[in-house]
Amino acid sequence: MIKGLFWIFLFYFLGELISLFIGGFMPGSIIGMILLFLSLLFKLLNPAQVKNTATTISKNMAVFFVPATVGLMTYFSLLKNNFWAIIVSIFVSTLLVMAVVAWIQQRFEFKNEIDTNDNQAIEQ
């Protein structure tokens, strides 16, 4: 647990450091996430070192969102004034993302299926 926390904090710090050097192009935590992912992928870090801590954190992280979300209480009038703009753009955009991702993925799969069928036909 502590070992995992050490690694996660270390990658977080490295991320913040790099973010500082590249002039704040991207948040440090996200650079830290990418670094951790790459280190695991290229076997620079043994996954067992972070497994327990990372899984525990990501399973329970919803509680960490509460303080920031309570800040909504300071934006009631802003939300009221922009209510329909927010609701309509979220609804439409969410459905668009869903449709685009599903269509592209499905097209690829069916294309592959046809290709493999063709190949099998040629082999026969």
Binding site: L5, I8, F11, M26, P27, G28, S29, I30, G32, M33, L35, L36, F37, L40, L41, V50, K51, S58, M61, A62, V63, F64, F65, V66, P67, A68, T69, V70, G71, L72, M73, T74, Y75, L78, L79, N82, W84, A85, I86, I87, V88, S89, I90, V92, S93, T94, L95, L96, V97, M98, A99, V100, V101, A102, W103, I104, Q105, Q106, F108, E109
Partner: protein
């Protein structure tokens, strides 16, 4: 009064409300009753009634809020685990999610501007399809307000997980991989939880989509920020 406006009381209130939220959510299984939503419905009225302002609440709950950063970093491990267990064509999935990501940020920003939304609202809406910790960091970083983004991410997740399976059926999606990816890309963890109810394949790919969507959105945000 003094004992209420303290770190230990506010942390207790926050964790307690959230815990109550998880119990209510498990009992009712209504997707609107997310633990986070229930926690808000307890904490916000409490602060308004006691007259404690948000700034001092936020200061007292810093230990929890600090963990947002490590939560983002921990997702690096989650993404690694999903990628290493992945079977199938990763390139087609990346292409699908990449396009979804561009369409997602682009459409929500343009629509909100079209409806005349305030600039801070537009910037807070941009990362709405992404998993909460990444969305909050991105919002804070690119001129949005994490509090607003949290609400938008939650609305996006609740809406997508509620309507998603029906919507995917009427637009003729038969591929299980496509359904899982779409639910995870559009509606993050809530979409994935719903996808898991449909099937294991859908659930696993929803999980993968959350990570890739978060990563791609983080990489693409700098190019979109001019639009806000």
């Amino acid at each position: 009064m003094k004992i209420i406006n303290t770190e230990i009381f506010m942390l207790l209130l926050t964790i307690g409300s959230f815990l109550l939220g998880t119990i209510i959510f498990k009992k009712t299984k209504i997707s609107f009753f997310q633990p986070l939503v229930i926690a808000l419905c307890i904490i916000i009225p409490f602060l308004l009634l006691t007259g404690i302002d948000f700034e001092s609440y936020f200061e007292h709950t810093q230990p929890l809020n600090f963990m947002l950063g490590p939560s983002v970093v921990a997702l690096g491990y989650v993404l690694y685990e999903q990628v290493s267990h992945l079977k199938g064509n990763i390139l087609s999935m990346l292409a699908a999610i990449f396009t979804g990501c561009v369409v997602g940020i682009g459409s929500v920003v343009l629509l909100a501007k079209l409806f005349g939304a305030d600039q801070v609202i537009v910037a807070s809406l941009a990362p709405k399809s992404v998993t909460m910790p990444i969305a909050l960091s991105l919002s804070d970083f690119y001129g949005g307000k994490p509090s607003l983004t949290a609400a938008f991410v939650a609305i996006c997740g609740i809406f997508g997980s509620w309507l998603g399976p029906f919507f995917l059926r009427i637009i003729g999606i038969k591929s299980r991989i496509a359904r899982g990816l779409a639910m995870g890309s559009a509606s993050h963890a809530l979409g994935t939880a719903r996808a898991m109810e449909i099937g294991a394949v859908e659930g696993a790919l929803g999980g993968l989509a959350i990570g890739i969507m978060g990563l791609l959105t983080a990489l693409l945000m700098p190019f979109f920020k001019e639009l806000f």
